[in-house]
Symmetry: C2
Subunit: 194 residues, 2 copies
């Protein structure tokens, strides 16, 4: 009786050697496929390119969204790390705006990723490191703004994040970049006091 349960991800028990190898191959193949065709790349093609069956892919990544999340995790992290840097260099309201624009640009750049990420964002399992990262970055920006009294107090990072998700979803295509900008404007007017 080896009752492992409730492993909320962090202390990974080691994967079996073949499983680890397959996971590596899958990540590699998926990264290549998404880079080439955007999130529209088919799961079956990715599995084939990795030399495994779809079942194997699905055991490691229970849905296509989660695979996408895994692939872009690094880039999201980079985006989040930019938040403190922005507040150090820009006035808080501007830092906020700039970061938001980068966020939506990022989503728009990865074709079809918006939908996937939205699913991930709204899913309320805490396993998703990505959401936490993003929320933290936003909290940082909002706190800075609040601290200098340029933002209404009590605006939740979580909500702003969701709003950004919604904007990305609606303004998914490249042609709608202007729309995204205008919506961010609207959102900012709701956040900053002036």
């Amino acid at each position: 009786m080896t009752g492992h349960e409730g492993d909320t991800a962090r202390p990974r028990r080691p994967l079996r050697a073949d499983a680890q190898r397959n996971e590596d191959r899958l990540l590699e193949a998926a990264a290549a496929a998404f880079a080439r065709q955007g999130a529209g790349a088919s799961v079956k093609d990715i599995a084939r390119a990795a030399g495994v069956g779809v079942g194997t892919l699905y055991r490691r990544f229970p849905s296509k969204e989660l695979l996408i999340e895994a692939i872009y995790r690094q880039e999201v992290r980079r985006l989040c790390e930019a938040a403190p840097e922005l507040t150090a260099v820009l006035p808080p309201a501007q830092a906020l705006r700039t970061w938001m624009e980068r966020f939506t640009d990022f989503m728009a750049a990865k074709q079809g990723m918006a939908e996937a990420l939205a699913v991930v964002l709204t899913d309320d399992s805490d396993k998703l490191h990505t959401r936490t990262l993003l929320a933290d970055a936003l909290t940082h920006l909002l706190d800075a703004a609040e601290g200098q009294s340029v933002a209404r107090p009590g605006v939740a990072a979580q909500d702003v994040l969701m709003a950004l998700g919604g904007i990305s979803l609606i303004a998914a295509s490249e042609e709608q970049r202007a729309l995204a900008t205008r919506l961010i404007d609207l959102l900012l007017h709701g956040i900053v006091t002036n």
Copy 2:
């Protein structure tokens, strides 16, 4: 039988008798299916229930989204007609809020419709009467608010509509009603002056 009669410009030559009959059956079957199972009802089931092949359905409604749009057109119209009534009874900011909440409630009520409608909203063909209707309703509400100087001038109805679409998309599930409310709050803060 219900008259239905289109609004989206249909001065074309009348449909062939069999085609018309099939369209009627399809609308009936689709309405029943969506009412019972939400937008998740399968196209194939609807076609079967209507006693036609999927090909027939697709000739009339080139995508599932458009079928959904056709089915809910009436309800959307009703929603839009409520806008002037609200401004007549409530102060403009409150009228705006109430209407927005009705909008997202409506979207949430029809399970899965948010996505379909978002596609319709972002599609830039002008054939979609629905979008025009909604934009007009919002224009009415915004004008009233602007007229009484409670709204920033220059807020485009189109943009607000998109924002509502985004909110509906993100807060699609029933559990997220609170989120939708908070996001509307945020949006309103961006629109009204105070």
